[in-house]
Amino acid sequence: MENLVQEAIQNVNMQAIMPSLVLSGLAMVLLMVSVFSKRGSSTHVAWLSVLALIVTGFVALTGWNNPQSGFAGSVLFDNFATFFSMICIVAAGLTILMSDDYLRRENFPVSEYYPLILFTTAGAMWMASGTDLMTIFLGLEVLSVSLYVLAGFFRHQTRSNEAGLKYFFLGAFSTGFLLYGVALLYGVTGTTKVEGIAAYVRANPDAALNTMFIAGGLLLLVGFLFKVAAAPFHMWTPDVYQGAPTPITAFMSAGPKAAAFAALMRVMIVGLDGLQSELTTLFWILAVLTMTIGNFVALSQKDLKRMLAYSSISHAGYALVGLVAWNEIGLSAILFYMLVYTFMNMGAFAVLVLIGKQGENNLNLDGIAGLGYKKPVLGVVLTIFLLSLMGIPPTAGFIGKFYMFSGAVEAGYIWLAVIGVLNSAVSLYYYLRVVVQMYFKDPAEDFSWVSINVPTAISIAISLGGVLYMGMFPNTLMQLAKLAGF
């Protein structure tokens, strides 16, 4: 017993969980700060949260090229984890920046909001660094539970309630599947460590034929697919994205999704490598299904948030292409794409945050008619983000998509790439519709309520910079993404 404890303590290596630890700790401190703050003022918590994220960011960066394994191999803070952690931190930071003014506009400046975002981020970092299904599960739940709250954060708004509830029920439901899958895998392999599962498969090559093993793997997969909003587990996405507070929608579509991808990749590629042929077939179908459903349904959407939700589904589909490829390019493409997607999607949402009236009833196509004339800068910026989402050069979206599909082509999935690009072509229509409304229609309103505040402007500027920088000089980040792959 004594030995065990000692061994356990030796194996701990706090270094490996330091970033999440720091962030969680700071989040709790901020929770306390907000408890003692005056009701109705949350700005200081917001800035402190940003500070907390910056600190965490620096801590996380120490993991670059300096992999830290801890807790008997349950946590591995390597380049991969660092990369995804940075994505989540950036996403969280941008979210917080665009939230402050938004919360005040919506008359709900409750400062617990920010610590919750930090918790989510911490959970996401857990997921990205987890190498044991247990740690991954914990990270996932920390992330999810905080997000349930955030989605339903506007408790006076039925819409927000509904979003929170739907997310909660379906999330818990999918957790059931995930856990069941973990249990089955555990039953076959006797371990919950990703490496252990892989080792088992290596030792027992016929494990891939074991029904329980396959079923376990697939159920586990379903849990992650739910989080990344892949069809047919995507149905929650539009509703939740539409109902949740806009910055949270933005955050959900970037940070948690990236974390889910991180976990998915780690589990699939490291752990279930033995199922590669089955999984690639499955991912092939899922990728096509996801991007097609996302794009096609987005065509008929009028509500901008809902449209972007479908767009987000389709982008998850594109990202799955990288998993189909299952090769170095594909994987580093997913990393790169997640980063790109974070910037472009957060940017687009940030603009929506700005142009929404109180209650956000104007965030539909007609509501933004002529925006490009009344608010030229916002118009141009939103257009650039949309172009990036479309995948038009010289924006990051193009490079990301190109990189992604390159992976598929390199692995010989040419038809998948063809379907992918045709899907992009379909997507042009609904993104262009926004541009059409902004520029080709006469202004219906004067957008006088739009006041450009500094934090949101900063978040837009960062997103824009990211989109353009990665569009024109993608080399550095692509190399980092490559180094972050495993």
């Binding site: 539970v145 339903g152 039925t158 929170g164 439901f173 957790t175 059931g176 555990y186 006797g190 919950t192």
Partner: protein, 100 residues
Amino acid sequence: MITVNHYLLLSAILFAIGTFGVLTRKNAIVIFMCIEVMLNSVNLTFIALSRHVGNMDGQIFVFFVMTVAAAEAAVGLALMIAFYRNKDSIDVDDFNMLKW
């Protein structure tokens, strides 16, 4: 002789019942309880398998699952209360503002 298979079968049946309940029931609380049933069936599986494979990991997992379930319950019920305050209902048929 009750083998691990029996446990697994039982938990599978429980899981199916939970799933079925989620699909068919309209009351949010009941649905939530169905989900709890699902989670508990998973717990049962874990414990049975833990015994079967001979290590403690499964049992540890169960503790985490229980904790998480509790946390979810707290959040979920809070959300339901908020909804109930606005709509005077927790029938899932009323969660129908966001669609299409």
